[in-house]
Symmetry: C2
Subunit: 285 residues, 2 copies
């Protein structure tokens, strides 16, 4: 292996690695917050990296973006206002704008450069940002959330890993602020790491969520470019359980899901029946 021809991400205290053969370097810059790179790879198409960590690829972005959007949408009985913290690539917004009854989508991304770079290299992901219901707010999500009270029906934490400036997004203090920013039946959705290689991390995240939310559930979906691929997501809710789909939306989704690449309601209902391994990691009985 000639390492110069590969984009290699070492993870889990440099004991595990994944690599993507590079076709071409497309972009590299140091923003105020992080290093932003885009490479064209042989196996996953265009790949966005922040501080050397894989974030978005052409090949698998649909998985993450569909699951964190359509799962909470289908459970929520009210979804006028959606907040996305992070997610500067725009992929989550693209999925939410598919639902005509959502009135406003706020995207709070701390690093405006991620949005601008994504517009150039991931135009499909950013295609929803021009929807008139979308407000793009280049602000610190941490500060933003403290000011919002009972305002959002769904909040998606589309963050990087729990290190550096994103680490605060995995604390119970932050989850408390999210809880306060949600309406009375609100739902929080977040990515919660890979349990095979970071057992301590995932247990800590779910402990923190349980301190705040009465309903905390979890599912997995594969993220081919993330370390170890097997990725968990958290569903934290004030009232409804994750498999309690909104009966008024079944017809609408029956139609929409034909055009989706990953999500369908059968998968949604099945994915919360988790393995013993997964239960153990998240402290579920």
């Amino acid at each position: 292996m000639n390492v110069d021809q590969w984009m290699i991400e070492e993870s889990f205290r440099n004991t595990f690695a994944m690599g993507f053969k590079i076709k071409k370097y497309l972009h590299s810059e140091q923003s105020q917050f992080q290093k932003i790179d885009v490479v064209e790879t042989e196996s996953v198409g265009r790949l966005l990296l922040l501080d050397g960590k894989t974030m978005v690829s052409d090949k698998d972005e649909f998985v993450y973006h569909e699951v964190v959007s359509h799962i909470p949408y289908m459970v929520s009985r009210q979804h006028k206002k959606v907040l996305i913290i992070g997610g500067g690539d725009g992929g989550v917004v693209r999925e939410y704008v598919k639902h005509p009854d959502i009135e406003r989508i706020d995207l709070v991304e701390i690093d405006e450069r991620v949005i601008e770079v994504s517009k150039i290299y991931f135009p499909d992901c950013t295609s929803g940002l021009t929807d008139p219901r979308v407000r793009v707010l280049p602000q610190d999500g941490f500060a933003f959330i403290k000011k919002a009270k009972k305002e959002y029906d769904i909040i998606v934490i589309d963050s990087t890993d729990p290190v550096d400036f994103a680490s605060g997004l995995f604390t119970d203090e932050f989850y408390h602020d999210v809880y306060e920013a949600l309406t009375d039946e609100g739902i929080m959705m977040n990515q919660t790491e890979n349990p095979f290689l970071d057992e301590w991390g995932i247990k800590n995240i779910y402990n923190n969520m349980r301190k705040v939310f009465p309903v905390v559930q979890s599912f997995t979906a594969p993220m081919l470019i993330y370390p170890g691929v097997y990725w968990t997501f958290g569903f934290s809710s004030k009232k409804y359980r994750a498999t309690d789909l909104n009966p008024e939306k079944l017809n609408q989704m029956s139609s929409l899901q034909r055009s989706l690449k990953w999500y369908n309601m059968d998968w949604h209902k099945g994915c919360f029946s988790v393995s013993n391994f997964h239960k153990n990691m998240i402290g579920q009985e």
Copy 2:
């Protein structure tokens, strides 16, 4: 990255790679059929490789071995005789011997050296091989299956990838022989590769299974050491569908599943509700 300190597997025409940092080289030999290596790694413990391909690790072996055993067991109404083709590490046998009503388990592994090496380095996996119901047959599975007629209730194809001497294990001719070797309500279980990076391969495998079996279904389970981790498995059956659990075994499994690391019946029932992506790959409506 100093590549000499890593066990790196390049896959998908050398466009994707996974690496495990090496603590120690434990074993290396060239058998009659393949190169057999065992290394101690930082992230997944002991790791067995055949011709440089990751096969079994301490960290995740329970996932594969439990799912290919307990899923067909729980669907099958009769399971006196089980055949495992490949699987020289013994992990599948270890799971089947947990069921007292199985009368015989035949393990047909072409390479006796894999079994012997596994006994030394993976003693937990091979612990079932001394069970009096187990016959270890160091033979070519291809030839063996042609002689068996309506003999086995469950057949597990625990093979390497569809290249070289294992490639025949993914053809419709072979699936036809498996069909003939199964009893009237028999079930075949096999690993069917990663659909993200080998779309053609997986479509071909499922096409071949559908030529032979009236019921063909699929589920996924993560194999942390396999290329791309997201792994599909095939459930091919003469009669029962994969979620049609044997009502007579529910109590027995309720008790056993408390001691399993991955499998539980809720997960079993949920995992066959697959994503649109997965349906598309396997040609499921």
